[in-house]
């Protein structure tokens, strides 16, 4: 289940956790300077910014729904940032995720009914066949060596339908902590840490950064280094790669993955109206990167009917590089934000992203911001829609749509209200369209009549609320 498992460790936003003692420390940082509580102007919140002591409370709520009864997620997040008068910054933030809904299990559709099984542990002994969540059944398994009370969760997919597992429901919690400040001649040094936990995945992150601003504050070079240790402990254990679907609990219960990367950035204020930024990123991940729940179908070479389902397998090592270029242009009352990104990794994936948003300041207090994002990626070199029974198994294979070639378009609209000079409320809504090839040329037998593309469209609503205070 992608939405819950993979936290965006690569984005360098500063989120952290709020706890009572730390909150008290934050409040203690503030005195109450006499001149600061004066009348606020309608269109600038000038009490806040460099040189002033203030805090920012940010919050957001994301509601995400894929079409066709697929994944639904609710994700609230919040952050508290305390700014010191000399440029210090302390940030706490947290994010919660509640995900449910159907997710493709990696198998291809068939013109026959398909049956899938996953491990299930019961408290007592298994007696009768019962119905579990999401329309699946609990079926008892004969006891085997070392596994008593074992059962399997069984679900079926009707003919000519993309196989999905409806039984998933998960929660995730994450928090981050960060500190940054100028240090002697260095404009900024900072470090941070984060932790994320869900039912079957844990991630621990650490990062550090250094920035230097010169050229009359018009140029900034920055270097940030980030690392992460992930632990995958799926329900049912870690299956051996490319082995057959098996409802028994696996011997290996957990696997790890480590990640190390850096981002080199150059930000330049080119003119009074034009800010540009270019970043180069390098990332290396080593360890278990497969989806332990995902299958790849083994199909008959003539009829295309599934003969078996194998657990997918991804390479142990992944290194990637990307170049990101962003431009912000302010031509009152319109602010344009255009960014481009090129990404390439050693899994054979290259992608291009282009994002454009136009913020139109309607009044001093409100703005409208339409946006569009175009994205295109190539398939991983071990991506296969299915594997052919009888042919030699490749070293790695995955049918995850995330690794397939596709194009996506996202359309969004945001409405922002600065309710007071210190508070802002934002409403965004958008639609994500995913377009891929459901009829590859090499499809055999009944697969020729099936739509093999596992991607889907999604709609989202995003609410944001920011409050600056002393």
């Amino acid at each position: 289940m992608q939405l819950k498992r993979r936290r965006p460790g690569r984005t360098r936003e500063r989120l952290a956790a709020a706890s009572a003692s730390l909150l008290a420390a934050t409040l203690a940082l503030h005195s109450d300077p006499a001149g600061a509580q004066n009348a606020d102007s309608a269109h600038t919140s000038n009490d806040f910014g460099p040189g002033t002591l203030y805090s920012e409370l940010g919050s957001a709520l994301l509601i995400y729904q894929e079409t066709g009864g697929r994944v639904m997620a609710i994700e609230p997040s919040a952050s508290l940032t305390a700014h010191g008068a000399d440029g210090e910054e302390l940030t706490f933030g947290f994010t919660l995720d509640a995900v449910s809904g159907a997710t493709p299990n990696g198998a291809v559709p068939s013109d026959q009914t398909q049956t899938f099984v996953t491990p299930l542990k019961l408290k007592g002994s298994c007696t009768t066949v019962t119905t579990a969540s999401g329309g699946s059944q609990v079926v008892c398994l004969p006891p085997t060596q070392g596994q008593q009370n074992s059962a399997e969760r069984l679900y079926t997919t009707p003919p000519n339908t993309l196989p999905v597992d409806k039984g998933f429901r998960d929660h995730r919690g994450a928090f981050d902590l960060g500190w940054s400040q100028p240090l002697g001649p260095i404009s900024l040094v900072g470090f941070g840490a984060g932790y994320s936990l869900e039912r079957d995945y844990q991630a621990i992150t650490a990062n550090g950064r250094i920035e230097q601003t010169f050229n009359a504050n018009d140029t900034t070079v920055s270097l940030s280094v980030n690392s992460e240790i992930d632990s995958s402990f799926p329900y049912g254990g870690i299956p051996e790669p490319l082995t057959a679907m098996d409802p028994h609990f696996k011997d290996v219960t957990a696997r790890q993955k480590t990640q190390l990367g850096f981002v080199l950035g150059l930000t330049e204020v080119l003119t009074r109206r034009w800010l540009t930024q270019i970043d180069y990123s390098y990332d290396a991940q080593n360890g278990y990167q497969s989806d332990p729940y995902r299958f790849i179908s083994l199909v008959d070479p003539v009829s295309g009917e599934p003969t078996n389902y194998l657990y997918e397998s991804r390479p142990w090592n992944r290194t990637s590089q990307s170049v990101f270029w962003e431009n912000k242009l302010d031509f009152d009352p319109v602010v344009t934000d255009l960014s481009l990104r090129y990404f390439k990794d050693n899994w054979g994936i290259t992608s291009k992203t282009a994002e454009l948003s136009e913020r139109i300041n309607l009044t001093q207090r409100t703005y409208l911001e339409p946006s569009a994002r175009w994205y295109q990626q190539s398939a991983a070199n071990f991506f296969h829609y299915y594997l052919v029974d009888g042919a030699a198994l490749p070293a790695f294979a995955s049918a995850d749509t995330r690794l397939n070639a596709f194009t996506s378009m996202t359309y969004g609209l945001k409405l922002g209200f600065r309710m007071t000079p210190r508070t802002e409320l934002d409403f965004s809504g958008g639609f994500y369209r995913q377009m891929g090839n459901g009829h590859p040329a090499e499809a055999i037998g009944q697969l020729k009549q099936q739509n093999l593309f596992g991607g889907t469209d999604a709609a989202y609503v995003l609410l944001g609320y920011n409050w600056d205070f002393h």
Binding site: A34, A39, S41, T44, P50, G51, D86
Partner: protein
């Protein structure tokens, strides 16, 4: 034959390049000429700050803008300086560099200023003084020369700023 053709093409391109460079130099020279004519013919674009009237006094020349947060903190302190040090010979002049006069006026309504304000929307005065931080204050002694430059405004350095002013006030003009 091919060789002679290519060398004649190369010669043609070389001549064109020489011409292009000449045209480029001429355009640059002409633009500079035009720019200087323009700025002297239309004095509204060339603001002037004549400090000769304050010779013999110490001048605190501060550059500020409505969009600059530390400026907000500097105003109460500058008011205090103008009040207490004014009788001793301190003159406080605050130069505003806002593009939009309305924003500067709004700032002044919210932040009381009991000292002289000069408007420099095109940055002509700012360009003459050249600085890299906002706000920046120049402390000009009784001799009319800049003695101290304060980059930015930090409330915890107010005593430092004050001692710089005192030092200049205690100097006598030769």
């Amino acid at each position: 034959m091919y060789l002679s053709f290519s060398t004649s093409v190369v010669a043609h391109v070389a001549r064109k390049l020489q011409t292009m460079k000449l045209v480029l130099k001429a355009t640059v020279a002409f633009s500079i000429l035009l720019g200087s004519i323009w700025s002297t013919t239309f004095p509204v674009f060339a603001a002037n700050l004549d400090l000769s009237a304050y010779k013999g006094k110490v001048v605190l020349l501060d550059f500020w803008a409505s969009w600059c947060n530390p400026c907000r903190q500097s105003f109460p302190w500058m008011n205090a300086m103008a009040e207490t040090m004014g009788p001793k010979g301190l003159v406080v002049i605050a130069v505003n560099v806002d593009h939009d006069r309305e924003l500067a006026d709004e700032f002044l309504r919210a932040n009381d200023a009991r000292f002289t304000i000069v408007y420099d929307p095109n940055g002509a005065i700012a360009s003459k003084y050249q600085f890299r931080d906002m706000p920046t204050s120049f402390l000009i002694g009784r001799d009319g020369k800049v003695h101290y430059v304060h980059n930015g405004f930090f409330p915890d350095r107010e005593s430092e700023y004050f001692s710089d002013i005192s030092r200049l006030l205690n100097q006598t003009v030769q």
